[in-house]
Symmetry: D2
Subunit: 350 residues, 4 copies
């Protein structure tokens, strides 16, 4: 399968560019009889919408998802679920001046090398806008996983190098930046304003926790649950690092410190992030994701054009200061998609 | 496909447990006409052999790989390449006393939950010994990639929290721990001896660099080159974290710092780790991998048995102090396998 | 992958039901730089349109295909190609009276068993209308294969048990029934009228020939070219039999009769249908497909409802007398899709 | 995935040539806890053994299958099952004289075109000997399906154009040719002797019936149960035609004749072969397979060598007169593999 599909049984396949008619996808493998409506999907999609926080672009996209198949009388039929999100606010002319220029940190150069041609309008297929389809696919997975009581929380742990002190799983979606706690919000807001003034951008770290995941998910060897989660997360543009549980910190611990001991009441700690030998243990699944700063800085940059000549680039248009918070629901969607697939794969052993 | 297969066109499928007749695998998709011999594979496999460094077990395994198909008169025929490594030194009785006990940090608990039964001898399929098949599969990929001039270097950057100061790509395979430079070796050796005396174990960080990778490898959206590399690396037991290029460090940089500017002479830096928008840019591909300490500590541990009763566990047998250095050729093999797959996938655009 | 996807590198994934908003699909893996327009796709799709021949329903569907992504300035970009065909003439009320009845020969019974519920309007996902997406996907494959000079001819060889005497590859698309020759057309037309009067339906046999297919396509063992062609053809509703080359007739021949001898000028015959050991030989690829009569007969039929009670069924609505000719472009599309996939797979050996 | 793998969840991957060290495979996805022994597999494999009937070669191969992994204390562990069958009687020198000659009806020509080189000893990967791995894989599927009460019968219906009059499902494996009934056996034996004297070979037709298959197996659109069965059967060398239920005969029937009516007691007939809309209906699944005569005739044949020069070929060695009866257990194995995969896929809807 080519790279627009994710999953083995519960499979999302997507299409679309930021400046064509729209974007969408197909979910295969969703069990029949799961309650599903457009408004449920829309609610998830709205969390990703730009123009909500101080770090986001003001570009207006209503991003209305339309269900095209696979749902009948409010329930999934078990057959392919098609969906579509029309592009409403795509101003192609914004991009004409960068048509022949390779923007630093973007896929312009590598796409040109790969395909010999490229849709230069807003990055074409490499645009972050492709993630709308992930969010819808993930929401379908969520609808299925909710019938099993599985929940996923996703929140920003660090922004621009400033780490939040607390994690409060309640109220995340109401907080700016989907911050892990309220105390850090004004500090991050100040930092964002400062960087915006400088014409620069920021990165951050997102943490995700899945609860009520049954033990036994994941497959030996290559399709370990952590391997598929790393794959899922790293497939999102701007992500450059992924950790499970203690992650890199485990590298400098002793074995006796890092092991999670078991008592008759359960595990005593969760350095493993809920995954042992690649298989879920029934504990919380914990993933952390490093997000790079957005490459579209307002400051002038040095780069080259298609002829290899050096040029000075000043990017206009409307751009976010940080992939956070919009990336948060996208990463959550990838978590749901990964879990849904493994829940179904595990049915063979039941 | 189930989880014993890796790749889409260049596909490795493996089998085997540490205490059965042996382990092996099948490589599909290798182009025809590539020179390949058992001795070439054996050389790679020997790098993973235990009993070589101070961090390794003294258990003796000659690990002889035998080619079973797909090679004729010294060249690949283009058809499935089967191979086998017999288990020679498998003392099953060593494990009988932990038959009903869930060892902390191991897959015992999660496998029991997943399958309802498990091969308790040495971890069965979850044993680190499964990686012999990865090394052989990776060596086949290497044979193919060498015809294109692609090279991969893998070295230990940090052990037990002590980071090496230098990176010298020459002579890695001759250095203990596959250390990134010689200066750190005596320090690590001392640390290993110390921890061994304590009955404890260590983790570390491995870095990998691929050179001469053509621009254009990777697929948009889900099968980005970095996503597949994260998947590949995280699928190796003991790995808990993966970074590309600047990795987590990028999260606290400004966009203007993190972007790699382009001049007519090429890129000015490589924070991206050679991957832009998920597609290789022609620069070095850089991956860092966090390895947890080995869970089999000699110290007594608290855990439970299958009946849920608390027990005190003292692991006997021969165990490594650290997954490093033996994990290094395994990670390198995963890099080769990932690249070989993408090189073939990219042929559709040529 | 679930069953809405076809192919390994050149992959078509589809969605849609006859009575929802519409149908569509995503093509992955099409090489970049292939000329492609909506009007090219529309031309292929128009061949499948109902209401053209005496055997077809009078139901009016304009079936306009809309390209949603993957094409830029008239050429494929190498990324996912999304497309959509809106349902314009879907009268749901026509089907309400058969809501709880299992129509003989249809998927009603088996879908109910599989999913526990079903979209009863026009068969839902099991409707023959899903084939519009195949035709569009196949047309994209055709656009690619035409750049290599590969052609596929598809024609009706037999209708209602009456076999055509000749095969004339020129002018097929202009002839009623896509008949293999003109002489049989009036005979078939008479037979169709006769059966229509009886309230009954007909089946037939379709033959397909691919020309200029390079030698070397197909993979050993399971993915033989003939195996994938059989899979492709049999996946089309109403198909109950598939033959390659001499097909069943080869079963009663002697080996010396059936072998195709080779001279310095090439093969002396083509009983093998252009495939040896599952790999194309460079000869014409020949496939024959048996199509059952359409199950929606106007005559009253005995069946049961969801409660298991026996009922007398009289199907109203607009129905075709025969899946031929509309199935012909669908089968041709499946041939294109199969070949496109193998052409790309074979690039690894080049 | 390349073409040495079959299945989506229950996956068989094979390797091996007739003149290397041996052949084998890996089964992924078999549920845990299924009783499985080498002797069970051996029993199935023995049915395929040469030298049993008058139509078979006298070549002696003991074909001992060895289980390499995935079974512990007599039960499947749920992890990859590896197996191996050593080649014991491979006389390479027999083949040296046809090294540069393309044997008519064999894969010699097409493999040379595909790969640019080939293992000429006994056909290499294209040898019918690869089917030993299918039989073992199918036997593992059988072990799983037996726990659900599913049975598959496979028998020869026609040999050399002579059709059996009766079908008696009892005692098939005891009858020569796996004949569908005893009455035809002496007639076939006479025909085989006659053709052997002429230095020629025969084809035939095999029928397969699966009983107790639950309704609901198969997936909409491309992965219909009949599509996957056609794929499975046609992937076996020498197969040139596949029919489901009435097959080609349905093409000349009226819809009212071909439909299987339903009463409160069940279906009144089974022209559909137990599959409606690609999904099993709970009736017997019926498949018929056309097998071409073996191309290795003793009679001299005209062909060319690698230089394109015309040569006269006289094949020595030990060859079967007909792929029947040895192909019968192979086809049965493919049926088991197909069903096992769909049984597991259907679990997502339960």
């Amino acid at each position: 399968m080519s790279g627009d599909s994710f999953g083995k049984i519960f499979v999302l396949t997507t299409f679309g560019e930021s400046h064509g008619p729209g974007l969408g996808g197909i979910v295969q493998g969703c069990p029949s009889g799961i309650p599903l409506t457009e408004s449920f999907l829309q609610k998830e999609l709205d969390l990703r919408r730009p123009g909500q926080g101080v770090a986001s672009t003001k570009r207006k996209e209503s991003d209305r998802v339309k269900l095209l198949s696979g749902v009948f009388e409010g329930k999934t039929t078990g057959t392919a679920i098609g969906f579509f999100i029309a592009n409403e606010d795509a101003r192609s002319k914004d991009y004409s001046k960068i048509k022949d220029i390779f923007r630093p940190g973007h896929a312009d150069f590598s796409y040109e090398q790969k395909y010999g041609l490229r849709d230069y309008r807003g990055g074409g297929r490499s645009s972050g806008r492709e993630t709308v389809s992930r969010v819808v696919g993930g929401a379908i997975a969520k609808a299925f996983l909710e019938t099993l009581g599985i929940k996923v929380y996703a929140y920003t742990l660090e922004l621009g190098g400033i780490r939040a002190k607390d994690i409060c799983l309640e109220g995340i979606e109401q907080r700016p930046f989907f911050a892990s706690s309220q105390e850090v919000v004004p500090i991050w807001e100040k930092r964002v304003q400062q960087v915006r003034t400088q014409g620069d951008t920021l990165g951050g770290i997102v943490e995700l926790v899945a609860k009520n995941v049954p033990a036994g998910l994941g497959e030996p060897v290559f399709d370990k649950l952590d391997a598929r989660l790393a794959y899922a997360m790293m497939s999102v543009g701007a992500v450059k690092a992924v950790e499970i549980g203690a992650g890199f910190a485990a590298s400098s611990k002793l074995g006796s410190e890092n092991n999670d001991f078991l008592t008759s009441k359960g595990f005593c700690s969760n350095h493993a992030g809920g995954i042992l030998g690649g298989i879920s243990s029934g504990q919380d699944i914990i993933v952390r994701v490093g997000v790079k700063p957005i490459p579209s800085v307002a400051k002038p940059q040095k780069t080259i054009n298609k002829e290899g000549q050096e040029v000075r680039l000043e990017i206009g248009g409307r751009h976010d200061i940080c992939a956070i918070p919009r990336i948060v629901p996208v990463l959550k969607a990838m978590f749901f998609l990964t879990l849904a697939d493994f829940v179904l794969l595990q049915k063979r052993n039941k």
